[in-house]
């Protein structure tokens, strides 16, 4: 009797811990963070109601605008360059290449590395005194200057360089999988009609990969908004706070400056940004699944 009953509720029993985890550690925590963002918390978390003062402080802070502008610059360039390089490499690799496996592995290995490692490596390469700049001097370009890493106007672009290096191979893999999924017979038919290879790519294959573009965009946007490690390792947000992103801003205010309320409010803004990207995507995904 008991075993029968146990057997019947077993699926619920198995899923119960996950339910509790999702309820408390995901949804409960989001609500708790939202509450903190409306409280008067500073050095210590307080659970009172202070209205929008933390958001007012957040938007009055000049670092907020820098972090938001940087996110815009970084995300736009990072996503566009990754999509472009990824697609280009995937198309090149799709031309029945000898040694495809080896080349693919080379393109993809940065993905296995932590952003901390990647940042450390690029910090050394971009080192104005000893790195790339010195290399150019040694091969004869004596006046060559490359000080982006320590130039507050340009530091955010070094983050783009390292980020693209790390993630473009992964986008290539997504596109390659998409290219391999396209119906060969359509391409054959176009060839018989006399369409050139570039034409076939432009008119048939690339438009046919719209879902892959979409997935890649979502993944890249998500990486861009969350980017934290790379900035910490490469520039530490500097010089000054010129290469701050919202993620490093949140860390600084919540954990090193003891401005918990502002930290919580900035995390809410990050959540909103991610939602603005993800929710329309999920919506269209669910809709297309229902129609299919």
């Amino acid at each position: 009797m008991v075993t029968k009953w146990l057997e019947r509720i077993m699926p619920r029993l198995v899923l119960a811990p996950t339910f509790v985890i999702a309820l408390v550690f995901i949804h409960g925590f989001i609500l708790l963070n939202a509450w903190l963002s409306f409280s008067s918390s500073n050095l210590m978390p307080k659970y009172d109601w202070a209205g929008f003062i933390q958001y007012e402080r957040l938007f009055a802070n000049e670092r907020t605008a820098v972090a938001a502008t940087n996110l815009f610059i970084f995300a736009t360039l990072f996503i566009l360059i990754c999509l472009f390089l990824g697609l280009l490499m995937a198309i090149l690799l799709d031309q029945r290449i000898r040694g495809e496996g080896v080349i693919r592995t080379i393109y993809l290995y940065p993905m296995a590395l932590s952003f901390i490692v990647t940042g450390t490596a690029w910090k050394w390469i971009l080192n104005p005194g000893l790195g790339f700049e010195k290399l150019m001097h040694d091969i004869g370009f004596e006046t060559f200057q490359f000080d982006w890493l320590v130039n507050s106007e340009m530091a955010i672009y070094t983050v783009v360089i390292a980020g693209v290096w790390q993630s473009s191979g992964f986008v290539m893999a997504l596109f390659l999988a998409g290219l391999r999924g396209i119906d060969e017979s359509i391409i054959k038919a176009a060839q018989i009609d006399g369409a050139s290879l570039p034409m076939i790519y432009r008119k048939i294959i690339i438009p046919g990969m719209r879902p892959v573009f979409f997935s890649a965009f979502i993944i890249l946007a998500h990486i861009a908004i969350k980017s934290f490690d790379l900035v910490m390792a490469l520039t530490g947000g500097g010089p000054g706070y010129s290469s701050d992103l919202p993620a490093t801003f949140m860390y600084t205010f919540a954990f090193t400056r003891g401005q918990i309320g502002i930290g919580a409010a900035s995390a809410m803004m990050m959540l909103m940004t991610v939602m603005a990207v993800i929710v329309p995507y999920l919506y269209s995904e669910l809709r297309s699944q229902r129609h299919a």
Binding site: E7, M10, P11, R12, V14, L15, P17, T18, F19, I21, A22, F25, I26, F29, N33, L36, L85, L93, Q95, I103, R104, T105, I106, Y109, P110, A112, L113, S114, I116, V117, T118, T120, A121, W122, I125, N127, G131, K134, L135, L174, A177, G178, G181, I187, L197, V212, S215, K226, D229, M232, A233, A247, A254, F255, I260, G263, A267, M270, L271, V274
Partner: protein, 291 residues
């Protein structure tokens, strides 16, 4: 895909161009690794006099020894070895527990659905999308309350919790492709919930277990955000220690030690990737391109 009727020369030129481009891209990806390795093998004066791409004239593993045994990560000067072991101690249980739970969840969510099970799944999926910044503060409070703040067990817990959404998603998407008839037949034969899981589902799960463990291994090993916030002192994972090593400002900057440290921190995931990367990419792309 090339038309066999095209003029031979065009074809050869086209192929040459393609290989040239592919080679150029390969260089772009390889040069940073090359620079890391050669720099780590050079003595400091050679780094100052030579350039980035120059091969070491007197290769030495001295910097590796320093990075492993005696480099300073903040106040401590015991090298990276302790932190390397910390990461191992953290990653193995977190990877195993989250994969096991993910497998059981995926099994229930596809083969033993009950009213409300999809709600649980949707609730969990949110965890794949949120920026973790939004849970950092509450988690810090909870870890403090249960006495796990600043410790490796605390980090294991955090990684299990926030890895669960991904592992469940992997296993759910995989188990959907296993025909229900298989399960129903077993059920008619009187197989219980667990018998079916261990005798039928698990033996079929090898590919997705590989994907899940590799994903979790690289994610947890490479994590910095949770590590830098929820660990302290000698309980820090290697990514945090490497960042401290690189940013420790006392004395002469030893770039060769930095690079050796970076390679040490990268070796386990590189190893996993080279050995099993094929399956990982296959599973990952199947999961994210689909739909």
């Amino acid at each position: 895909m090339l038309n066999s009727g095209t003029i031979c020369w065009n074809h050869v030129l086209g192929r040459a161009f393609i290989y040239l481009m592919l080679g150029a891209f390969a260089l772009y990806y390889l040069i940073p690794l090359f620079v890391m390795v050669v720099t780590s093998l050079k003595p400091l004066d050679e780094i100052r006099s030579g350039n980035l791409l120059a091969l070491p004239m007197q290769p030495t593993f001295e910097a590796w020894g320093i990075a492993w045994n005696s480099a300073c990560t903040g106040v401590q000067c015991n090298g990276l070895q302790g932190y390397f072991y910390n990461s191992m101690i953290m990653v193995i249980p977190a990877m195993l527990i989250s994969t096991l739970l993910g497998a059981m969840n995926g099994y229930v969510l596809t083969k033993w659905k009950f009213p409300g099970s999809n709600v649980v799944f949707s609730m969990l999926l949110v965890g794949c999308f949120i920026p973790f910044q939004v849970i950092l503060l509450p988690m810090a409070k909870v870890l403090g309350m249960i006495g796990l703040a600043g410790s490796l067990p605390g980090l294991v817990m955090v990684h299990v919790i926030y890895g669960l959404a991904f592992t469940t998603l992997f296993f759910r998407n995989y188990y959907i492709t296993i025909p229900d008839e298989l399960i129903n037949a077993a059920r008619i034969d009187g197989a219980s919930f667990w018998t079916t899981f261990f005798k039928i589902i698990l033996p079929l799960s090898t590919p997705i277990i590989v994907v899940s463990t590799i994903w979790q291994f690289t994610q947890i090993w490479n994590d910095f955000l949770f590590g830098v916030i929820y660990s302290s002192g000698e309980q820090q994972p290697i990514t945090v220690a490497l960042n401290n090593l690189v940013n420790t400002s006392t004395g002469v900057k030893r770039y060769n030690v930095d690079m050796a440290g970076a390679i040490i921190a990268a070796l386990p995931t590189l190893f996993v990737y080279v050995v099993a990367g094929k399956y990982f990419v296959r599973g990952l792309t199947a999961g994210s391109v689909k739909g």
